[in-house]
């Protein structure tokens, strides 16, 4: 079982976390026309990278989303950061 660092609660077991998506995916503006390819890419296309990844996770016990950098091969966790700070 992995240990993830919630920026608010500290190191906690992975069972308390939900994967929320790869970082950097932007919802298309659906008031305008969105072509099927773009919408499909938004819904389903994942980069699924090998090695260093940046992802959004939710710590379900505090309900906070945050960004986590980790290695998808070694499972090493490099860093985690509140998304609030990323946004500002």
């Amino acid at each position: 079982m992995q240990i993830f660092p919630c920026p608010f609660c500290g190191a906690r077991p992975e069972a308390e976390f939900h994967f929320a998506g790869e970082l950097g995916k932007v919802r298309p503006d659906t008031v305008a026309q969105v072509n099927p390819e773009d919408w499909t890419a938004y819904l389903y296309a994942q980069r699924n990278e090998k090695g260093a990844v940046r992802e959004v996770w939710m710590h379900t016990t505090c309900a906070e989303l945050f960004m986590m950098e980790r290695d998808s091969v070694t499972m090493a966790v490099v860093a985690s950061k509140s998304l609030r700070k990323v946004a500002s």
């Binding site: 919802r27 919408w39 938004y42 989303l65």
Partner: protein
């Protein structure tokens, strides 16, 4: 049978005899014995039968590397299947029975199966039992296959503790290298845990006469005392059976026989592996006979249990380790002869009773053959953690190469078979120095299976995989080791290839003419040894597995005779009264239509969304337009996934400009809350929207029926309840008994209906008042079952029951926001995909059956020929209407009203007619009745 117990100093207590039964006969062992050592001491050789051919088998190993001697053990009336005889401690009073043998391992009636071996080669069942249908043969084959029988009795109290623990350094293996590593690390001030799977520490040291100048027992005691004095912990009889991410090591700590092992989830800062090595079998004709065992096993039986396994022993070895074993066995009184395997092909002679060994036409009499094909480092845990392996030609073995982070390996597990070098490695590992594998005095000449050689030569003893099976697999192109394994079942026995894998890989390498390392190994996966499922399960049963949510009014429901059941994670009244459930449920439904039903609706979700940006947020979250909702008003709507599929439905109330209450399905509250949080935090100003799940803070009582208004009036609230003043789909705030009360006029039954929500702590008084007033009006409590019927009569859906993973709102007749809503909302673009816009989508309909027919089964398919065109989602006998009703999702259903369809269920076809998904008061007159 005379005793094979010698006078040699061993780890047993000869003053404590233990009586036990094996295959119906009485035997005696001593404290400290395993089942296998006690039987060997008594001269018993045959301890089991092989899986396929039912060949007689005795132990090959003395510990976890034995695939042959597996027992069903009863103790004090409790039965435990599949106990390895070599690792199960002997307890007085045990009744032991060999598995896969009847009536005994010695005389097994299926022993004759071996005569049919010609037809039972690798993959025989894939080839033989295909026509006409495998399923005809499967029950018989399943009955014949397998090991011990699982008792149907539940073992009370057989429950594993699960412990979370951590340490600076975890040392796995309590042999010489492990003891020194743990001692050095503890003295250096590190928090050390040492685990070893034997009850007595020392690993292979007990076979030696001296260690660093003193006898092994004293040397071990000194290390143990040193570890303890420096604050280290030692877990004996504890197997590290898996290494998982971030250096979490799973440990199974065995207690007394018959108790569930304890699971430690040990998080280690560093892991030092000192797991040792196994002696591997030699492949020769009839090498599976009882009385053929590993040289190391013979050493262990003698050193630990004082058992000399044979009197006249033939020793076949390709390596230098045999010399010490030969000396020890001779000192114990055995005749030991060496057979040089390089001098020509050899085979075992004899059946159940071994007679000797023949080489180049010369037969040597022997009652025991000890074999060693070389040492194989135990690298299982290393591989679990992602460590790499290298092939060492000198040692003819795979041994550890590049290390995973925070892990190192020392001693025999590292291919370091010399004691002094192993101890140096242990000290270097603790000091953090680089471990350089030292030169070794260990010598061996390669000794691997020779394809094409004569006789039946066993590779996997338990599963009866022979060299010929490997050759067959190669001919049929099952060449990759992973294919070879699955086709022949090589390495799939309960020892998971500890004895068989190397020989199997070497055989395949020889057949294909490749170097062994190019063939590669199969994947090493946890658990290292079989562990009971109870270990994973732990205490997570019953209430602890999935704790039920409890109603504040549970005592009142129980007092009213409620049949409580789990509905969406809550313990709720299904119906009231102790009699015939269908009659009671129908009675409750009829009462609700005639006067009113009183429902404890507290589990209904109540998620408050507040703040200046709350309006825009809920308008985005909902399929329906919410921003036009006025304070005090309520709207029914859907939440969709981005894929456009309905995630939840329910009403949303606007309390004031910046405050909404989302009333989601009882069982979806946690999901909806996470969903809202995830979107709230996606680009919004988090200081302008707040989400609070107050489901458990407020209790809700719903009064539904023609007399609902009269009953609520009886509460004397300061509220004008007339239809003109209090409209359907509005909400008023009032006071009951000095506490805030929210009164919502919404209906889930089609009748006038008020939801009264009050602080959880104040709900008992409200319930007493409502039920007392209701009683005078002929109304009373109804359970969730009656409510389900009432809502289905009206065609009100339950998400997840009347919708599936494809259902979009326009499939339910809610198509307007899809076409008209101007602002962005979740799932909007998906509602216009090719599939979402396709003709013939499944839509919600009602289904009726011919007069007098019984209700359709839920899940039955509407069929067109052999094709499913939809299915029944809800089906009830409607007491209100006096006939069955059903809801379903049917292709193009909304356009097929009045059409007769065929409904298939379990092979039978019935007829039904499609109708609108509303069976009761379609005009809504009752809903708005004064």
């Amino acid at each position: 049978m005379t005793s094979h117990r010698t006078a040699r100093t061993a780890l047993i207590d000869r003053s404590k005899p233990l009586n036990f039964i094996f295959d119906g006969k009485p035997f005696q062992g001593v404290a400290g014995d395993t089942i296998a050592s006690a039987l060997l001491a008594n001269g018993v050789r045959v301890m089991g039968r092989s899986f396929k051919y039912h060949r007689p088998r005795g132990p090959w190993g003395a510990w976890v590397d034995d695939p042959n001697a597996i027992m069903s053990v009863s103790l004090d009336g409790r039965a435990f299947p599949n106990c390895p005889a070599t690792t199960t401690p002997l307890v007085g009073g045990m009744q032991v029975r060999a598995v896969n043998a009847f009536p005994s391992a010695q005389f097994d009636i299926k022993g004759g199966l071996d005569l049919f071996r010609r037809w039972l080669g690798a993959g025989f069942y894939y080839k033989t039992f295909m026509w006409p249908d495998w399923h005809l043969f499967e029950p018989l084959i399943r009955k014949m296959a397998g090991l011990g029988d699982v008792s149907r009795d539940v073992l009370d109290g057989y429950c594993s503790d699960q412990v979370y623990d951590d340490c600076d350094v975890l040392v796995i293996g309590g042999g010489a290298a492990g003891l020194v590593a743990a001692h050095s690390a503890a003295v250096a001030g590190q928090g050390v845990v040492l685990v070893d799977d034997h009850p007595v520490l020392g690993g292979g040291l007990h076979q030696r006469t001296m260690v660093e100048g003193i006898i092994p027992a004293e040397w071990i005691a000194a290390q143990v005392a040193g570890i303890a004095a420096a604050g280290g912990r030692i877990l004996r009889a504890t197997t590290a059976f898996g290494i998982y991410d971030h250096r979490m090591v799973a440990l199974a700590e065995n207690g007394p026989f018959g108790t569930a092992p304890r699971l430690h989830r040990m998080r280690a800062g560093r892991i030092i592996l000192a797991t040792g090595a196994l002696d591997r079998p030699v492949t020769f004709a009839n090498n599976d006979r009882p009385g053929i065992m590993s040289i190391d096993a013979a050493g262990e039986y003698l050193a630990r249990y004082g058992v000399c396994v044979g009197r006249r022993i033939a020793m076949v070895s390709n390596n230098s380790n045999a010399d010490a074993a030969q000396k020890m066995l001779r000192e114990a009184g055995a005749d030991v002869l060496r057979i040089d395997p390089s001098k020509g092909a050899f085979c075992a002679v004899g059946g159940k009773h071994l007679k000797g060994i023949a080489q180049n036409g010369t037969r040597t009499a022997a009652d025991t053959i000890l074999a060693s094909g070389g040492m194989t480092p135990l690298v299982h845990l290393w591989r679990h953690a992602g460590g790499k392996l290298d092939w060492c030609a000198d040692r003819q073995a795979f041994f550890p190469a590049a290390a995973p982070e925070g892990m190192c390996v020392i001693g025999a597990a590292n291919g370091t078979f010399d004691l002094a070098s192993a101890l140096d490695e242990a000290r270097a590992a603790v000091a953090g120095e680089q471990i350089l594998r030292a030169a070794t005095t260990y010598r061996l000449s390669p000794l691997w299976p020779e394809p094409g050689s004569k006789g039946r030569q066993w590779i996997d003893f338990q599963h009866d995989v022979t060299l010929k099976d490997i050759e067959l697999a190669a001919r049929e192109n099952y060449v990759s080791v992973e294919h070879l394994k699955r086709y022949t079942t090589l390495g799939m026995a309960s020892d998971q290839g500890k004895t068989s894998n190397m020989a199997g890989l070497a055989a395949m390498a020889a057949i294909k003419g490749k170097p062994l390392p190019e063939v590669g190994t199969t994947t090493f996966r946890p658990p290292f040894v079989p562990v009971p499922l109870a270990l994973y399960h732990g205490g997570h049963g019953g209430q602890l597995w999935s704790p039920l949510k409890r109603l504040a009014l549970e005592p009142q429901h129980r007092a009213a005779g409620a049949a409580m059941g789990e509905y969406g994670g809550w313990l709720r009244p299904g119906w009231y009264g102790g009699g015939n459930a269908p009659e009671l449920i129908h009675g409750e439904a009829l009462m609700a239509r005639a006067s009113a039903g009183i429902v404890d609706a507290s589990p209904l979700g109540k998620i408050e969304v507040m703040g200046p940006d709350a309006e825009a947020f809920v308008n985005f979250i909902y399929y329906n337009t919410i921003k036009t909702l006025k304070p005090g008003h309520i709207r029914y709507g859907f939440m969709l996934t981005e894929g456009g599929v309905i995630m939840d439905d329910g009403v949303i109330a606007r309390l004031d400009r910046n405050r909404f209450v989302i009333s989601c399905s009882s069982s979806h509250v946690d999901t909806v809350r996470s969903h809202l949080e995830a979107w709230r935090q996606d680009g919004n100003d988090l200081d302008r929207i707040f989400i609070h799940d107050v489901t458990q803070h407020w209790a809700t009582i719903t009064i539904a029926g023609p007399k609902a208004r009269e009953i609520v009036r009886g509460l004397g609230l300061d509220l004008d309840l007339s239809a003109g003043a209090f409209a359907h789909m509005t909400l008023r705030e009032a006071q009951f008994d000095g506490a805030p009360l929210r009164v919502a006029w919404v209906s889930f039954t089609g009748d006038t209906s008020f939801e009264l929500s009050i602080r959880r702590t104040g709900v008992a008084g409200l319930w007493d008042a409502v039920t007392a007033i209701g009683k005078d009006a002929g109304a009373g409590p109804i359970g969730i079952e009656a409510l389900s019927i009432l809502r289905a009569e009206k065609g009100y859906i339950m998400v997840g029951k009347d919708t599936d993973g494809e259902t979009m709102p326009h499939d339910l007749g809610f198509g307007i926001p899809r076409l008209k809503k101007k602002t962005a909302f979740l799932g909007d673009r998906s509602l216009h995909s090719e599939k979402a816009s396709a003709a013939g989508r499944k839509s919600l309909v009602g289904l009726t059956v011919p007069f007098g027919a019984v209700a359709l089964p839920t899940g039955a398919h509407v069929v067109e020929g052999k094709r499913s065109a939809g299915y029944v989602t809800s089906s009830y006998d409607s007491p209100t209407l006096g006939h069955p009703i059903a809801l379903g999702l049917v292709e193009n259903g909304a356009a097929r009203l009045g059409e007769s369809v065929e409904v298939w269920h379990l092979g039978a076809i019935r007829h039904a007619t499609i109708c609108a998904a509303c069976f009761f008061d379609a005009e809504g007159e009752r809903l708005h009745a004064e």
